[in-house]
């Protein structure tokens, strides 16, 4: 009985925190209205955004008041409870964010949810026709990516929530701590993130983009999102300086915030020792020439053009951003396959990127190397295996390798399941792998499969893929299992 009461009181707490985050999402939905100052001609759209924002704040407030009824002092949140809060606040935010797309653009629920999930998860696959969409909708898509990149719980922790938030922080796949306190860590993340975005806006502007496009592209690049205001993405501008700015921003976006912190403190040598940075440099130096000389040299005969195109597409796939300067549909099979592999690898842990994450890949390759090395060492020798993470040496234990290997297997399993669904709809194996790898890794590159005409089953498969990829599977499993277990317990002990 006592345990049941305890469980119920925990759920009141969960409801309270979820309420706070959904209220915050409501404020985010209202934020595009700030741009009415610059575009007063779109004032007619304001009620739609106010409706969605109002509903969201009301729902959040209801949850908050309901949860505050049973207030217990000094409670701590475990990872499982944090997972439940993160998932429900994400679902809430996704639901309410979809409303403007439905009321303004007259899109169906399926398409709107797809678009919104693509925004919040920083994927960048889109069903909206950007040439006709109003400016407010365009900026709202970019704002979703900006907030989704940092993570709802992280933003909420940095400003609103009380300090008991370790479980929440871990649940949103932001496991590296920058400073020895959650609140300071999240505030530092927001500072770094906002600083880069503002810098990005000015860089784009000086490279010849209009102010509106600069704001949109900067938010979408640093969050590794990839929504563009142009139908043919960055390729529209055909400008080298804009491409260079994009490359820099995507590169910054895909680096772990803890690593950024090392860099900002001026520790260049520790920065280059970092596992993820090493893997990234290796991949660039290895794959760029392979793609250039074994596959794309017939398509782009000029060396400089070949390098420019190849390097941009590699970094857009690796950083899981999804801006592109060309169309992948005409690329040779081998080049597309390499891009699929890069999309599976993805960005850095604790960054805004998706995919399996470079850290995990690096660790698995290292562990294979360690295994082989140990085979040839004397029988009683002891070795201590480590790699560099953030600013510190990290000694790797077997348990950690097991966790990472499990994650990779689960990721690949989901990938193949999604590809199977796509092929069942009659798409070719290459298209299926490319599209679902792009959705699951929250990349947003498309080979042309996703369009408003695509069947609903495909759209939902990709929607679920993006959601799983962003929140990293396990917390969704934890949250689901905990909900079912607790529900059964409460029902049984009435």
């Amino acid at each position: 009985m006592k345990y049941k009461n305890l469980l119920i009181s925990r759920y009141f707490l969960i409801s309270k925190y979820t309420g706070i985050i959904i209220m915050f999402a409501g404020a985010a939905i209202a934020s595009p209205l700030l741009f009415l100052i610059a575009y007063p001609e779109e004032a007619a759209l304001a009620p739609h955004f106010l409706l969605a924002a109002g509903l969201s704040v009301l729902a959040g407030l209801a949850l908050y008041i309901y949860g505050s009824k049973h207030q217990e002092k000094d409670v701590e949140l475990s990872l499982n409870e944090g997972s439940i809060i993160v998932i429900f606040s994400w679902l809430g935010a996704i639901f309410f964010s979809a409303i403007p797309f439905i009321t303004i653009l007259d899109m169906s629920w399926t398409h709107s949810i797809f678009e919104v999930v693509s925004g919040w998860t920083t994927t960048g696959l889109s069903l909206v026709d950007v040439t006709t969409a109003p400016k407010l909708i365009l900026i709202w898509r970019s704002i979703m990516q900006f907030f989704g990149g940092a993570g709802l719980a992280v933003i909420a922790l940095s400003s609103l929530l009380p300090v008991h938030g370790m479980g929440l922080y871990m649940a949103e796949a932001r496991s590296d701590k920058l400073l020895p306190h959650v609140k300071r860590s999240t505030m530092m993340i927001m500072k770094i993130y906002t600083l880069y975005t503002i810098a990005g806006i000015f860089l784009y502007y000086f490279s010849g983009m209009s102010m509106f496009d600069s704001i949109n592209h900067s938010m979408a690049a640093i969050s590794t999102g990839g929504f563009s205001t142009q139908p043919d993405s960055i390729g529209h501008y055909n400008s080298l300086s804009i491409e260079v700015v994009t490359i820099v921003l995507m590169f910054l976006g895909t680096i772990n915030f803890a690593t950024h912190y090392t860099l900002l403190k001026g520790k260049i040598r520790t920065f280059f020792k970092n596992a993820e940075i090493r893997l990234m440099i290796t991949l660039f130096t290895l794959l760029t020439p392979i793609l250039m000389f074994f596959s794309l040299n017939t398509l782009y005969p000029r060396l400089s053009e070949n390098f420019r195109v190849t390097f941009f597409q590699i970094i857009t796939a690796l950083s899981t951003t999804g801006f592109s300067t060309i169309s992948f549909a005409g690329w040779p099979l081998f080049a597309n396959f390499i891009i699929i592999l890069i999309m599976l690898v993805g960005g850095g842990t604790g960054s805004t990127a998706g995919g399996i994450k470079q850290y995990r890949i690096y660790l698995i390759f290292k562990s294979i190397y360690w295994e082989i090395k140990e085979q040839f060492l004397p029988r009683r020798s002891v070795s201590s295996n480590y790699l560099w993470r953030g600013e510190n040496k990290f000694h790797v234990k077997d348990q950690h390798i097991k966790d990472v290997a499990n994650y990779i297997i689960l990721y690949l399993f989901t990938f193949f399941a999604g590809v199977a669904i796509h092929t069942a709809y009659g798409y070719s194996l290459l298209d299926s792998m490319f599209e679902f790898g792009s959705a699951l890794g929250t990349v947003g590159l498309s080979i042309g499969l996703i369009s408003p005409a695509a069947p609903a089953g495909i759209i939902w498969t990709q929607t679920i893929g993006m959601f799983l990829g962003r929140l990293e599977f396990f917390i969704i499993l934890y949250a689901g299992i905990k909900l079912v277990k607790d529900g059964v317990y409460i029902a049984k002990h009435d």
């Binding site: 008991h164 020895p180 609140k183 000694h395």
Partner: protein, 137 residues
């Protein structure tokens, strides 16, 4: 405040949990990784596994920028050594040391910046106070 806690046993983990919850930045240094399990779930500071008597481990915990160092291992010799290292090598402005054997307290008597807390003296003092307040019954 930035606090480094050395030793994460029952005392260290309790201190670390409460200080982290009230908003301080806390780093815990402990030799035995299993002891970290004593920390509460919402402890959000750093955990460093290693021997605090090594300079490099203290440096990893950024002890030179600490506002306060709490030394609470279960060994008086180590406590004394670490408190001296914190004071002399790293110039920490304030050091709190836990002592096991009340006799050791004397060693800290004339040290500036170092305060010692003896659990046994505190216990005895508490009991004596209570006896004196309530009188013999």
């Amino acid at each position: 405040m930035f606090i480094v806690i050395i030793g994460c046993g029952r005392t260290g983990s309790l201190l670390a949990g409460n200080l982290s919850r009230s908003g301080h930045e806390v780093v815990v240094i402990e030799h035995d990784p299993e002891s970290f399990a004593l920390l509460p779930v919402d402890f959000s500071g750093f955990q460093i596994e290693g021997d605090a008597a090594e300079n490099d481990i203290l440096k990893e915990g950024k002890i030179e920028s600490a506002d306060l160092v709490i030394v609470s291992t279960g060994n008086d010799q180590i406590n004394y050594l670490v408190s001296q290292m914190a004071k002399v090598n790293f110039d920490v402005p304030r050091i709190m040391v836990r002592t096991i054997d009340p006799a050791v307290e004397k060693m800290y008597e004339n040290e500036d910046r170092v305060e010692s807390f003896s659990q046994i003296s505190l216990l005895a003092e508490n009991m004596i106070n209570k006896i004196e307040r309530e009188g013999m019954r």
